[in-house]
């Protein structure tokens, strides 16, 4: 901190010691600079503000359909600017303001036009509908004239634009409607063709391809089940019939065979009984009869055995009941019918499977065409509605043109110049003067340095410094110094007074 303070003091003393140089340089700079500031020519602004409502017609109609709000506005604003400063307009401008009388060659004319295009400012139109036209020139009357003429050109051109707006819009909508109509027809046509081409593959009410395939599979399964059932029942019936018929057949044969033997056995047994009435068991007739009976019984058994053996090899003619036979034929019929159905379903399933790729594609395409059509229809209807509302609003607003334009601030010939900012420049020159003065003083201090501190002396000379004696002033010296300081303040004050006077003058204007 001390170091810095010492440094600051030192710099202050450095400059103060050369104060007259600083003042001289400053005065010189001001003596040169201030006149220059006055020599800079004045420039005058002229500005006009206009309210122009080009957007009322356009924006609501185009909202949502064509372009967003802000972008539309920006485009309109920049279009307006470009139109306004277009070559023909500028040519018109220089004719009507007599500026063209000042140019004598095509190059000069060209340069004038370019300069005008550059210098004329047309701002606004973005947020509000207020446009600002401004122009700066050293002749205030000319500036005003330029802006006036420009304003009239502006009004003409934008009114034209506004008037065109509505018809442009309507035309635009008409064209859109036509286009959508065409598209609609086209979409219908496509849909029709498509349906024709893919007749069998159209999704039915039951649902799309996959639903159909599933349904088909279900049906097939069902049919197969039924078939199996029917076959089972038939087989069961068959077995039943067989069992019955075998039994009956056996009984018949047995009855036949055992009938023959049984008769004889019965006769013999009757005789036997008779004999036994007369004779005893020991009687030779009885014995021989018994033997014969035994023999017959043995033969019967033998023949029955043989018969049953033959039974197993040949069914012979089944004998069935009427009922069973009827039932059997019914069930047979059922089975065949079911078989047919199963085959049919199998065929259908296979067919569907083969179309696994095709049908979904077709369905998707169909959906798309439908959607297409719907959208077109929607847009078409919207446009038709717009056209109607446009017609209505135009009819209502036919006579409202003059509300679309209004001059807010007309251009005036400025009395006070807009530039240059003389007070600022004068001050700048003053600062520059002192700055340069300080700079010069600094340079001099660097070129011809002296000693401010004992340390500097030591370092410079390499010789020991025995001490430092502080400055003392006698009263005489003190008053001398005071006089000199006053002299300096007066001189400096003179410069500042000159400065102050000029500033006051500037503001008094």
């Amino acid at each position: 901190m001390d170091e810095t303070l010492t440094q600051i003091f030192k710099i202050t003393r450095l400059l103060w010691n050369r104060r007259w140089i600083i003042l001289a340089v400053a005065t010189l700079v001001c003596a040169v600079g201030w006149p220059v500031v006055y020599l800079i020519p004045n420039k005058y602004d002229s500005m006009a503000r206009v309210y122009l409502n080009t957007q009322t017609m356009l924006t609501p109609l185009l909202r949502g359909l064509a372009v967003e709000d802000d972008r539309a506005r920006e485009q309109i604003a920049s279009t307006t600017r470009r139109t306004l400063l277009s070559r023909p307009n500028l040519e018109k401008l220089i004719r009507e303001t007599d500026l063209n009388l000042e140019v004598h060659s095509p190059e000069e004319r060209e340069r004038l036009l370019i300069e005008l295009a550059r210098k004329i400012q047309v701002r606004g139109g973005q947020r509000e509908n207020i446009y600002t036209i401004s122009y700066t020139n050293k002749d205030p009357i000319l500036a005003k004239k330029v802006v006036e003429v420009l304003l009239s050109i502006f009004v003409e051109s934008t009114l034209g634009v506004a008037r065109n707006d509505t018809s442009v819009t309507e035309k635009f909508i008409e064209e859109q409607i036509k286009e959508y109509e065409a598209r609609l027809i086209e979409a219908e046509e496509r849909l029709k063709n498509f349906k024709q081409k893919n007749m069998g593959l159209m999704p039915s009410d039951a649902g799309g391809y996959f639903a159909r395939a599933q349904a088909q599979a279900d049906l097939l399964q069902q049919a197969r089940l039924e078939l199996d059932e029917a076959i089972m029942r038939r087989d069961e019936l068959h077995r039943q019939i067989e069992r019955e018929s075998i039994q009956l057949h056996r009984q018949a044969v047995l009855e036949e065979q055992s009938g023959v033997y049984d008769e004889r056995i019965n006769l013999m047994e009757a005789r036997l009984d008779e004999l036994l009435l007369q004779f005893t068991e020991a009687h030779p007739d009885v014995v021989s009869l018994k033997e014969s009976i035994e023999e017959l019984k043995r033969q019967k058994a033998l023949s029955l055995e043989n018969e049953s053996e033959n039974d197993n090899n040949s069914i012979g003619e089944p004998v069935v009941s009427e009922e069973l036979r009827v039932a059997l034929s019914t069930i047979e019929a059922e089975v065949s019918a079911l078989r047919v159905r199963v085959e049919e379903y199998e065929r259908r399933t296979a067919h569907l499977k083969s179309l696994v790729d095709t049908i979904p594609k077709v369905e998707a395409e169909y959906a798309r065409l439908n959607r297409d059509y719907d959208i077109n229809l929607e847009n078409y209807q919207a446009l038709v509605n717009r056209r109607e509302s446009a017609k209505i609003s135009r009819d209502a607003d036919e006579s409202v043109d003059d509300l679309q334009f209004k001059i807010i601030d007309p251009p005036v010939a400025a009395i006070v110049p807009s530039s240059p900012n003389r007070p600022l420049l004068l001050t700048a020159v003053l600062f520059l003067g002192f700055g340069l003065g300080a700079g010069v003083a600094w340079i001099l201090a660097m070129i011809k340095p002296t000693f401010y501190e004992q340390r500097e002396l030591r370092e410079f000379s390499g010789i020991p410094v025995f001490g430092t004696v502080s400055l003392t002033l006698t009263n005489k010296a003190k008053s001398m110094r005071r006089l000199r300081t006053i002299g300096f303040i007066l001189a400096g004050g003179g410069l500042f007074a000159a400065y102050g006077a000029q500033i006051a003058l500037q503001f008094a204007q």
């Binding site: 010789i463 020991p464 430092t468 400055l471 002033l473």
Partner: protein, 284 residues
């Protein structure tokens, strides 16, 4: 008392002056009468008054800061004196690069400060023949002095011209009257003899010699060869560094040279923090 002494001094001065005028017309100065010589011995310069009037240090000075500054300066000088008794160390030459840097001021103050030491006596010599500011300030400009001794060919001797003052430890040697051939005088062997006499005769006496600026004439550089110690006064904020360089080179400084610097009229003191404010001295 002072006034009477002054009057007496004036009378004797007038007498001496008349002699001087005559001598300036001829080339060789007429010999002084012994009466006159003896009379100068009787003179006591009212030194204290002159000192006080002109803002110098004086015995009852209350400016402590300044007293301190000169105490600091004299210390190394005196140390050299005590260390090198043979080498004319007691002859201290005070000079500067340019006129107006304050060597007279410094030399006188230094003399007074040294005189305040308990065991020291001081002889102040004004050797600035061209601008004898010291003699003028101290009111001894019209007295016989250095140049007269050099010119006189042994007629006038040192004891005749050394002036006593009302400060007991301080004696003065005025610049003298015949100042026309200063350069040759000071360069002559007479000067070196005089220096020898000064330094040897009064070994305890510190001799402060106020010389011309180095760059103004070359007498200072000549005297530098005769002096035992050189004190070079540099004015702060004014003397360019290049000038100092030049002055130093003029002095032909060798390793044996005893030289020291003093920064005068300074406004900064780095030892203390901050800025000196000038000491405004009330004048009477």
């Amino acid at each position: 008392m002072d006034t009477i002494e002054k009057a007496a001094a004036k009378l004797s001065k007038i007498g001496l002056k008349n002699t001087q005028i005559g001598s300036s017309l001829d080339s060789a100065p007429p010999p002084l009468s012994t009466e006159k010589i003896i009379e100068s011995e009787k003179i006591r310069v009212s030194l204290a008054q002159h000192l006080e009037e002109n803002g110098f240090l004086f015995p009852e000075c209350t400016d402590i800061q300044r007293m301190e500054e000169y105490r600091r300066i004299k210390r190394p000088l005196l140390m050299k004196v005590d260390a090198n008794k043979q080498d004319k160390a007691n002859l201290i030459m005070v000079t500067s690069s340019l006129p107006g840097e304050g060597k007279t001021f410094t030399s006188i103050n230094l003399a007074i400060s040294i005189a305040m030491e308990l065991d020291r006596t001081v002889l102040f010599v004004d050797a600035d023949v061209h601008k004898p500011a010291a003699s003028t300030t101290l009111g001894i400009i019209d007295y016989n002095g250095l140049t007269d001794v050099l010119v006189s060919n042994n007629k006038i001797k040192l004891p005749n011209v050394i002036l006593k003052t009302d400060i007991s430890k301080v004696s003065l040697l005025a610049v003298g009257q015949d100042r026309s051939n200063a350069n040759e005088l000071l360069a002559s062997s007479k000067m070196s003899d005089l220096v020898k006499e000064l330094t040897e005769r009064y070994e305890d006496r510190i001799i402060i010699v106020d010389t011309p600026p180095i760059l103004a004439t070359n007498e200072a550089s000549i005297l530098a060869n005769l002096a035992g110690q050189i004190l070079l006064v540099v004015e702060a904020e004014r003397t360019p560094q290049s000038i100092l360089s030049e002055a130093l080179s003029n002095l032909n400084i060798t390793d044996e040279t005893n030289i020291g610097l003093v920064l005068n009229k300074a406004r900064f003191n780095s030892k203390k923090s901050g800025y000196y404010y000038e000491n405004y001295r009330a004048s009477s």
